[in-house]
């Protein structure tokens, strides 16, 4: 397998939700590529379809009301959307694993954390109880849980948020997956723990050479974690670039506006309001014609209200969905 091979290729993914006669296009025509050993950051506001994209990859979109209506998700050469459920189950947790946002609720309160991590290993690798237990201790040491051996007997309520998230990471890494999907893994943690977890994930990514799809609404976190970034808005990818370009020369007005909304200490005039993007995210049930961002865009011109923009290539590895670059 070549180093720069595409591990995951998402083409024209469309995941829609059918609610009371309405169609919510939570993910609409999304293209993403993740190369092996790299981290792709997926940023966007709440409800823009980041998590649905992740759930589509791992096959956890609740059906009904959700349905993947089109597209392909090619993971390591196979289209995941065509796999029967039984094969998909073998992939989940083994080749693709997931880390959730809320470490408080994503662990089962009635089992010890060691048992829960051992469960993944036993499900996928058929190890004996003892072998699995040893592996769990190894994993706990790897993710930096002190007194790993003792801690395996702990129950989730006996652990702090940061420790629980470490357990989740241990669980996600237990079977040496090729792709880890981290769905806002640090949102529920305070900043010191957040820094530790991010550092840990970066370190583990180097060691295990897994790819990460990192979902967040925090641009600072993305800058630290990702090599490539996709900015998502109302179910569509707005801009895709490597991390330096995206932060250095953002092209899409939405990306520019997002970066502008980050307040910087010491800059700006006292008493001045923080800059924000005017308007609100359009309802997924009632999307505007033309460009989805047109009603909030400072650069909008008349065509923006009528013509739906495509992804336009600006540079190799830099695309933006804006008519300015058509």
């Amino acid at each position: 397998m070549g180093e720069r091979e595409h591990l995951l290729e998402i083409r024209n993914l469309r995941t829609h939700f059918f609610v009371r006669g309405h169609v919510a296009k939570a993910v609409d025509d999304v293209d993403l590529t993740i190369q092996s050993g790299q981290t792709l950051g997926l940023v966007g506001e709440s409800g823009c379809g980041k998590s649905v994209t992740a759930h589509s990859i791992i096959g956890l979109v609740p059906q009904p009301p959700g349905k993947i209506v089109g597209g392909r998700i090619i993971f390591d050469g196979t289209d995941l959307l065509e796999l029967p459920e039984a094969r998909m189950r073998k992939i989940r947790g083994h080749w693709i694993s997931m880390i959730f946002q809320e470490p408080m609720t994503s662990l089962n309160p009635v089992y010890s954390v060691g048992d829960q991590v051992a469960e993944v290993i036993r499900l996928h690798e058929g190890l004996s109880r003892r072998e699995a237990q040893n592996r769990v201790i190894e994993m706990f040491q790897l993710v930096g849980i002190p007194a790993a051996e003792k801690r395996t007997n702990d129950y989730p309520h006996q652990m702090s948020g940061g420790m629980r998230q470490r357990v989740m990471i241990a669980m996600a890494l237990a079977c040496h997956p090729k792709l880890m999907i981290a769905d806002e893994p640090t949102t529920a943690l305070d900043v010191t723990i957040q820094a530790q977890i991010l550092e840990l994930m970066n370190k583990l990514k180097e060691e295990t050479r897994a790819s990460i799809l990192f979902i967040t609404h925090n641009l600072g976190v993305i800058a630290e974690m990702a090599q490539y970034v996709a900015v998502m808005y109302a179910g569509k990818i707005m801009e895709y670039a490597d991390v330096k370009t995206l932060f250095g020369q953002p092209k899409h007005p939405y990306t520019v506006a997002l970066l502008h909304s980050i307040p910087v200490l010491g800059r700006g005039v006292r008493g001045q309001r923080l800059s924000a993007i005017s308007g609100v995210v359009p309802s997924l049930l009632n999307l505007p014609a033309g460009c989805l961002f047109s009603d909030r865009c400072p650069d909008a011109f008349s065509d923006c209200l009528r013509v739906e923009p495509q992804m336009y290539e600006l540079d190799p590895n830099h695309t933006a969905r804006c008519l300015k670059y058509a």
């Binding site: 791992i58 956890l60 189950r89 073998k90 992939i91 989940r92 947790g93 083994h94 694993s97 997931m98 959730f100 946002q101 809320e102 609720t105 994503s106 662990l107 089962n108 309160p109 009635v110 089992y111 010890s112 469960e119 993944v120 499900l123 996928h124 040491q141 790897l142 930096g144 849980i145 002190p146 007194a147 003792k150 801690r151 007997n153 702990d154 129950y155 989730p156 309520h157 006996q158 652990m159 702090s160 940061g162 420790m163 989740m168 669980m171 010191t192 723990i193 530790q196 840990l200 370190k203």
Partner: protein
């Protein structure tokens, strides 16, 4: 590696005060572990004296892979949750030798609840007399003596020390029959509640987990079962199966299924929305495994309460069926059947039906009191 040096045992805050136990934590650890591993003195509430703040230094220090200086300052706030001792805030719970299993908080809560204790005592008396019936009962429950027909209890002038609670019209000792009757009643309670528990939980779990058509199908059938007055329903079932103790148990089991199905369905509906279910699915677990291994144990607390209360109603219903002649058949010493037999003598020998009646009352009361206390102890929202 963490080094926990020995330090004086430190007291916990007054037991039961703001104790963090939920239904989930009650079952989160096998309590026998805690019972085995916790020295007796630690289970008792003690003053918060031994905590001088200085012994807070023995906390996990190093973590592999992190800069030691950095981790030293960082670990101070991680790896532990706050416990109830106000002077020990921030201490590690797990590596803490004083860590107290939530089971003990709940046990303590139960112990302080006087009515629950009363209920437990009553239940214990009945259970003991059922177990020790051949030893403690003064006479055989079935063989009567024709010389001793309708003897009044001991405190009447006609009474004899031979028959403390008197005898019935066949000369059988009432106390002995009541003691043996406890066996029958408890057996009925356990078997019929067991039937209801197993089938009700299964049906409710499937309904709650698979939702949609399955849910509708199962729950509408349950609604139909619930639409009949339940004793009438039991009579119908017994009439169909034929009278007898075994069929009465089955009938009572069947009419109790909807209660359990509803409770389990509600809990499963609530639990299956939680993240750990998604997490379980994301590691590749199957539906049935998720349902019974991950979700179901989280639904047990309300079920246990319902089961305890269910024993009470099962005893009552079994007695009712036997009273109607559909349950235990003579000469089985069953409380309901005894009442039915004594009914014809109520004016000249009131004790023949009164004492079995009191036995039923006490047994039902015992289970109800204990069940209520258990509910209070398991549900932190109902405390204080």
């Amino acid at each position: 590696m963490t080094v926990i040096s020995s330090r004086p045992l430190v007291g916990k805050a007054g037991v039961g005060s703001k104790a963090k136990c939920t239904w989930a934590t009650f079952f989160s650890q096998p309590f026998w572990k805690a019972v085995v591993s916790t020295p007796r003195d630690r289970r008792l509430p003690r003053a918060k004296d031994g905590c001088n703040g200085a012994n807070h230094a023995h906390l996990p220090r190093s973590s592999p892979g992190l800069n030691p200086q950095l981790s030293d300052s960082l670990w101070g706030g991680t790896g532990r949750s706050l416990r109830s001792c106000s002077s020990c805030r921030g201490r590690s719970v797990t590596s803490d030798p004083e860590y107290r299993h939530p089971f003990f908080d709940q046990l303590e809560q139960l112990r302080r609840n006087k009515t629950a204790v009363a209920g437990l005592i009553i239940i214990s008396i009945f259970v003991l007399s059922a177990l020790l019936a051949p030893i403690i009962s003064p006479h055989d429950p079935i063989d009567g003596s024709l010389y001793d027909q309708i003897k009044p209890p001991i405190w009447f002038t006609m009474g004899t020390t031979k028959h403390i609670l008197g005898t019935d019209d066949l000369g059988r000792d009432i106390l002995s029959r009541i003691i043996y009757g406890a066996r029958v009643s408890l057996a009925v309670a356990v078997v019929s509640v067991g039937i209801a528990f197993v089938f009700g939980s299964l049906l409710g779990a499937f309904a709650g987990y698979f939702k949609g058509v399955v849910d509708n199908l199962i729950m509408r059938v349950m609604d139909i079962l619930l639409a009949f007055p339940h004793i009438l329903m039991a009579i119908v079932v017994v009439a169909y199966l034929g009278p007898g103790l075994r069929n009465a148990m089955i009938a009572i089991g069947i009419i109790y299924i909807p209660r359990y199905a509803r409770i389990v369905r509600a809990s499963v509906l609530e639990e299956s929305e939680k993240d750990y279910v998604t997490a379980s699915r994301s590691i590749g677990a199957r539906d049935l495994r998720i349902l019974f291994v991950s979700v179901f144990p989280n639904c047990l607390a309300p079920l246990i309460v319902q089961t305890t209360l269910g024993f009470a109603s099962a005893i009552l219903d079994a007695a009712a069926l036997s009273f109607l002649g559909l349950g235990a058949q003579p000469p089985t010493p069953e409380w309901g059947a005894m009442i039915a037999m004594g009914r014809s003598h109520i004016l000249r020998a009131w004790w023949v039906m009164t004492f079995p009646g009191i036995a039923i009352l006490l047994a039902v009361l015992g289970f109800n009191l204990f069940g209520d206390g258990l509910r209070d102890a398991l549900d932190p929202r109902l405390r204080d």
